[in-house]
Point group: C2
Chain length 473, copies 2
Amino acid sequence: MEKHLADLSIKGLALTEPAVLSRAAKALMTTEQEHIAGYDGDRLAAILDLYVKTGIQVHSPGYMGRQFSSTVPLAGVIDFVSSVVNQPSSFYEAGQLPNVVEKIMADELNRFIGWPPDSFAMVTTSGGSLANLTAMLAARNDKFPGFWSEGSAALPGQARPAIAVGDDVHYSVSRTAGVMGIGEAQIVRLPLNGAQQIDMNRVRPALDAAERRGLRVFCLVASAGTTSVGAFDRIDRLAEVARERDIWLHVDGAHGASLLVSDQLRHRLRGIEQADSLTWDAHKMMFTPAPCTLLFYREKDKSRRAFRQVASYVFDEEPDVYTAMDSGGKTIECTKRPMIMPLWVLWAMYGRALFAEKIDYLCRLTRDVHRILLSEPDFETTHFPESNILCFRYRPGWVRDEDVHRLQVTIRDRIKLQGTFFISKVDIDGVAALRVVMMNHLITEEHFRMLLAEIRAVGLELSGDRQHVGGLR
Amino acid sequence: MEKHLADLSIKGLALTEPAVLSRAAKALMTTEQEHIAGYDGDRLAAILDLYVKTGIQVHSPGYMGRQFSSTVPLAGVIDFVSSVVNQPSSFYEAGQLPNVVEKIMADELNRFIGWPPDSFAMVTTSGGSLANLTAMLAARNDKFPGFWSEGSAALPGQARPAIAVGDDVHYSVSRTAGVMGIGEAQIVRLPLNGAQQIDMNRVRPALDAAERRGLRVFCLVASAGTTSVGAFDRIDRLAEVARERDIWLHVDGAHGASLLVSDQLRHRLRGIEQADSLTWDAHKMMFTPAPCTLLFYREKDKSRRAFRQVASYVFDEEPDVYTAMDSGGKTIECTKRPMIMPLWVLWAMYGRALFAEKIDYLCRLTRDVHRILLSEPDFETTHFPESNILCFRYRPGWVRDEDVHRLQVTIRDRIKLQGTFFISKVDIDGVAALRVVMMNHLITEEHFRMLLAEIRAVGLELSGDRQHVGGLR
């Protein structure tokens, strides 16, 4: 493990065919199915080696691909302890420290949100998608109290419930309408401006149009920032609209809420204190092992709206000071990993600065590499980076407009296969773009320049290979 | 850690007031909020000590309270590695070995279910509640294809969708109707027999009655076993009913599916190969850290019914041998912990026997302590234990019928406070019962006899204390 972490060479991904890897894994399994095999240290070492080697190399400067990150190794130690003591954190009696610590971390982070202490609530849940679903359930049940027991049959003749989202919202948000019986067709997609944010000039007209179509928008979801490009919607201005129309404002800050801990970057979430709920993934920009998602509610009572349940085996009939700490009634999970522990321990050991300094560096680096791209005529950028996500296209003179999309996809695939860098891609306005997410403070401008050189080398190969350029389409 | 695990003394729970514990935790946090504090080994040791000490003592023979368990410590080592290499397992490229291993474990466990290889599917998800929701979404979308995009408005004039469950089903199942827009009022509760199983003589009449009320039952949920008493519904006979009426049969085997790996106990799930879906928590009777839930579908294609999504940043337009392994489209999670790894490593290292022998022992122990209770005139049992859960009541001569409920609750509370044993309680037919769940192979009949002695001692105190007996009501 130590050797693995000490290896700082630039590595992307060594993709192995599933069938080949499957054979390798099976070869490591004991064949004594019917009797307990003895402990075999060599076997374990071989398993761990295979596990580490075939993974995405999150701690290498070659990894620029996605929003999960290398973690502070101490977090792994905490997870080891959590797995051995196995204290589920949905109920106080089962995991006392995790429950207390959730409250402490909520207070610590609320310093950057700004709600009055004791008026808000926070629960942890298994990932941003689940947090978004939970918050939107609370919104649905808050605005349509009969929906829980009757479904949409509770609303005969009324306008149909609908949810407004930015056109580039994370798929987990739009999917929620399908999950919770609103119907995905009742997603109102708000148009974006050039910066890929919800276009504030077109929000009210879009909501008016939805109303004319017989929809009642009860929930508005802002992204902070978007998955594709890291764009931050204008929370303060969306909050105004939400207030005017009695709409629940949910902020999907899975990626970007962590910017709140940075004095330099907090302003991207201006108005966050007016949101009704906020999803915050600590396993993204707080660099903890996944999952560690925090779901905040501005009003404490609203956190009880998402679910209703009766179960005498876990819920006591006479609440006391202990059961008042239970969160089981507010999350989908009954048994839940004490996911707050790695985050809290890092915070307790190192304080806010560990996070703020790293976030500041990564966002600065992303602005710097954006500047590099502006001076390279064979590249185009699609947006100014508001956080640590940057999308761009390789667009040399020889490529025809209609081949630009295919070229990016081919380049991404080739880069991935070469195994030095790992980057991702995303479609922007229907055309693929290359995408880097800077999650590792070991990455420097120099690494990015190496990536550009590799992209150009791939491009050169492709341009020289007539057959391939033809095949691009 | 080693010292903690070596301590096999009989310990229940040392409950600390949240405010007190909160002060202790805060005292361990660095006050240098603004600068990165150095690594402080003493601080870390104190944090870990507090974490371990205040937890539920799952590895002590005094812990008989709930369905999560002590884990094989090796599982903790794997979780340490998982947290450091941080490979999310929803997409093959991010976590190659976890993805391959999910398929291997699915095949290994399917040997005990019995589906043709390659015709079924398995996904991992964060807990049994989420697995139940996911399966029931697949059922809803399978039986009402328009529901995803239109909600229940897709069914004007038709019978209303409804879900039939045993009256003692886990709360996550009945809650699902409220979550997914079916409406909790459309839960049809099937009456139980004396063994707390769904009463097969009353299933068809109950479904007929539901139909007359304008309901269309599209999903039937069997428990294997129930949370309260570990009762196993008759899957084979429920499957017959489901087939007759074109109903999706989901089996909530969160607790009991693990009995499939035991040759002695597999028969409790007779007919499981006829289920459409099955929830299986490895973090219960497979003794892995929570969560590790496996959701099986009999038909592979049906596993794609739960969700629909489009997202160019993670889903590729041209599927290949790698992306064919992706499970992100079949689970609520986008970033997902490689929760299969501890289970697979234990299985790879020790084979099935480790699990089967432990499960056999725990269920035999539970039958043995049931036999003990039968010969104790001041105790009554509420059921024959089909697995490792047993409920019973302390019922000495002096207690009035109307005080029986309150007596059990008081005894549970006192036992918990004394801190030697940790047991739980559940209401059965409206009257509280004491509940033990045998999850630890270090527990013997002797420990159970000690528990009975402690219950009697508490009872004696209460009977001697007139005020308290009066206060029982």
